[in-house]
Symmetry: C2
Subunit: 203 residues, 2 copies
């Protein structure tokens, strides 16, 4: 069985950037594909970028508990199809799911055996800089976003690991290490050792 790795963290911490870098560094990971009711953009391919669904189809998925989590943004649904994740894991591959903190908590309810990784900013100053972005926001907006981000950081308690996003290579190396270490958990090797004992007793 593969592992489901849920990568989350506060708004502005750089989840997307880290995930894009991970795609290059860990091509063996399968990236979870979201379902959405929004229209495909130029070049987007169904089943690769998103699973494109009608509103009726999406609501049927909700009714059949076919989503690990979902949310509605500006009139469109977005969600994580359970079957895609389950089937990929059953094929022995690891799946990574990049998601905001509220979605991650919903995934935890339905899939507690996943590995929950929380991305942290290296400092408040750095977070503020990332949230400020192009400098077009008012002080009030920036302060509100900072408060939200720090509030979201309290959700760290529901996660297994924290990864400091101080430097992209270091952050990716930490995530890669977490995946390798989780594959080394003792429980995964009990059948292997039992098999060896049986073989030598029969010999």
């Amino acid at each position: 069985m593969g592992l489901l790795i849920v990568l989350s963290g506060p708004a502005g911490v750089g989840k997307g950037t880290v995930c894009t870098a991970l795609r290059e560094r860990m091509p063996e990971l399968v990236y979870s594909v979201s379902a959405t009711t929004r229209q495909p953009r130029q070049g987007e391919v169904d089943g690769i970028n998103y699973f494109f669904k009608t509103r009726a189809q999406f609501q049927e998925m909700i009714a059949h508990d076919a989503l690990l989590e979902y949310a509605e943004y500006v009139g469109n649904y977005y969600g994580t199809p359970r079957d895609f994740v389950k089937e990929t894991l059953a094929s022995g591959k690891d799946v990574i799911l990049e998601i905001e903190v509220q979605g991650a908590l919903k995934v935890k309810e339905k899939f507690p055996e996943a590995i929950f990784v929380f991305l942290l900013p290296p400092s408040l100053e750095e977070l503020k800089q990332r949230i400020t972005g192009r400098g077009t926001e008012t002080m009030e907006t920036i302060n509100t976003r900072m408060n939200v981000a720090v509030e979201e950081m309290s959700l760290l308690q529901h996660y297994d690991y924290a990864v400091m996003n101080d430097e992209i290579d270091a952050a990716c190396d930490r995530i890669r290490s977490i995946v390798i270490a989780e594959h080394c958990r003792r429980e995964r090797f009990v059948p292997y050792v039992t098999g060896m004992k049986d073989a030598i007793e029969k010999a």
Copy 2:
């Protein structure tokens, strides 16, 4: 606080070889120095290769619970001084301790917060080949050793991680990943996040 990593596994699995390779690949780890009552050999330095002790000194260490574990082999005591480990961890450095399985279980009693890593042979055939060694052993000796090794493998249940020693680079990379992942455990970052919350609330 640094982490204590206990590397163990059945006789013949290649603990020493992996540990020697790790010294090159992870020079940031501090290797635990054993205390012993045996005579120093040519070139061995007190405090580097071993802490050389008289029998009376060693017995005093036992009486004062100054050893994480100890054992007697062919008339000499060998043990792991608790102070060296504790002081190195307190300085923020990780300590690695390579030890046979019985010693590892004793360390676990006195230091349950250590990370216990079990080295596994890639197959029974490979283990037999390593145990057979130079080919000077009788079939009976080899069979006894195989039975002991497989019995020792049942102790895997007391460990946190299992590392397959199929290839030295891969085994070292797994151990390195375990150390990095353990440093990413959520609990270690709670003070960091609490500090950020306090700072933004004061601002």
